[in-house]
Amino acid sequence: MIKIQSISKSFVDKSVLTEVSGVFEKGKPNLIIGASGTGKSVLLKCIVGLIRPDLGQVFYDGRDFYGSATDTKIEIRREMGMLFQGGALFDSKNVEQNVMFPLDVLTKMPFAE
């Protein structure tokens, strides 16, 4: 379960998110909709830790993401998956290498496996 609590984020003098809270339960699809430029991507990036919110907390199964040590953050991140707007495929690698990438870097699995 992912729980977000009073997330606020502003860029220079433009406030994008103001005290956004919510709960995303395991196994349930959730939808965030809004007009262009309203902060949907910023919210998602705050949830996965790519943008640090000015205020607020994000909990993954009760674990405070921003309050955790780096090791715990990495552990939480390795449980995540995110599909980026532009695909974010490693264009210097082929399809097989892209699919294999996390297995190759994050595990000690032999190539044949």
Binding site: M82, A88, L106
Partner: protein
């Protein structure tokens, strides 16, 4: 300016935390070595050969006195190539070729969210992407400088002997006379420092690219400009520190 320097040092610090396995870096470093070393070999050899040739011709042109023996020409060529031309001028070319390529590569990865994707996977993107480039640069640039030195002296030999400026014997004698080994050590120290500066500054500029395709170009240009300025400042400081009596 101070903020930028601070951000650069934090970036350098991030290279050494939460690193991946040795196997991962081994592969990446080898790939970068091929790209940096083999990819720059032709340009470095070409530029340094002509640099040596031009230095020989210009030194001979300025040595108008009959009291100065011909072998002094190759002595001057040797000192100029080893002390300055091979490490420093090649560093400027290196920044233009390798530095801009590093910055644009990382910049493109940033704007296409490939760096964000690495971060989401729990991979330290700084360490994964930049550390191999810096290690490969530290390994390959000193070798390029050695090759540049050899090619430069060879270029000088060819230009000097083929045009009749100096005899082959005088040229070789000049290269060998009053040789101070420390000049080579100094050139290698400079090459290690310049390699680190070019690779780290260019990676930093590319890594923090924001915007689109146009900004990648700007980052690439800034990477070359900043690297060259840093190389020139470091060149002066090293000369002052290691050569001043």
């Amino acid at each position: 300016m101070i903020k930028e320097i601070g951000k650069y040092f934090i970036f350098i610090g991030h290279l050494f935390i939460n690193r991946e396995s040795f196997k991962t870096y081994y592969k990446l470093v080898l790939e970068e070595c091929v790209s940096i070393g083999i990819g720059s070999l032709f340009l470095v050899a070409l530029v340094s050969t002509f640099m040596g040739a031009v230095t020989t011709v210009q030194t001979a042109y300025n040595m108008v006195s009959d009291f100065i023996p011909d072998y002094v020409i190759s002595q001057v060529v040797r000192e100029m190539i080893v002390l300055e031309l091979a490490p420093t001028i090649i560093a400027v070319i290196y920044a233009g070729k390798v530095g801009s390529s590093m910055a644009s590569g990382l910049g493109t990865m940033r704007i296409t969210e490939q760096i964000d994707a690495l971060e989401v996977m729990g991979i330290n993107s700084t360490s994964y992407l930049v550390l191999p480039k810096i290690i490969a640069s530290l390994m390959m640039y000193p070798m390029l400088v050695i090759i540049a030195g050899i090619c430069g002296m060879l270029g000088g030999y060819l230009a000097g002997t083929l045009t009749g400026i100096i005899t082959p014997n005088d040229y070789v004698y000049g290269l060998r006379s009053s040789y101070n080994e420390f000049t080579v050590t100094f050139a290698l120290i400079k090459s290690v420092v310049f390699a680190f500066l070019v690779a780290s500054i260019s990676s930093y500029k590319g890594y923090y690219t924001q915007g689109g395709a146009l900004e990648v170009g700007i980052s690439s240009t800034e990477a070359v400009t900043t690297s060259v300025i840093a190389v020139l400042i470091a060149d002066y400081l090293l000369a002052q520190l290691l050569l001043s009596t």
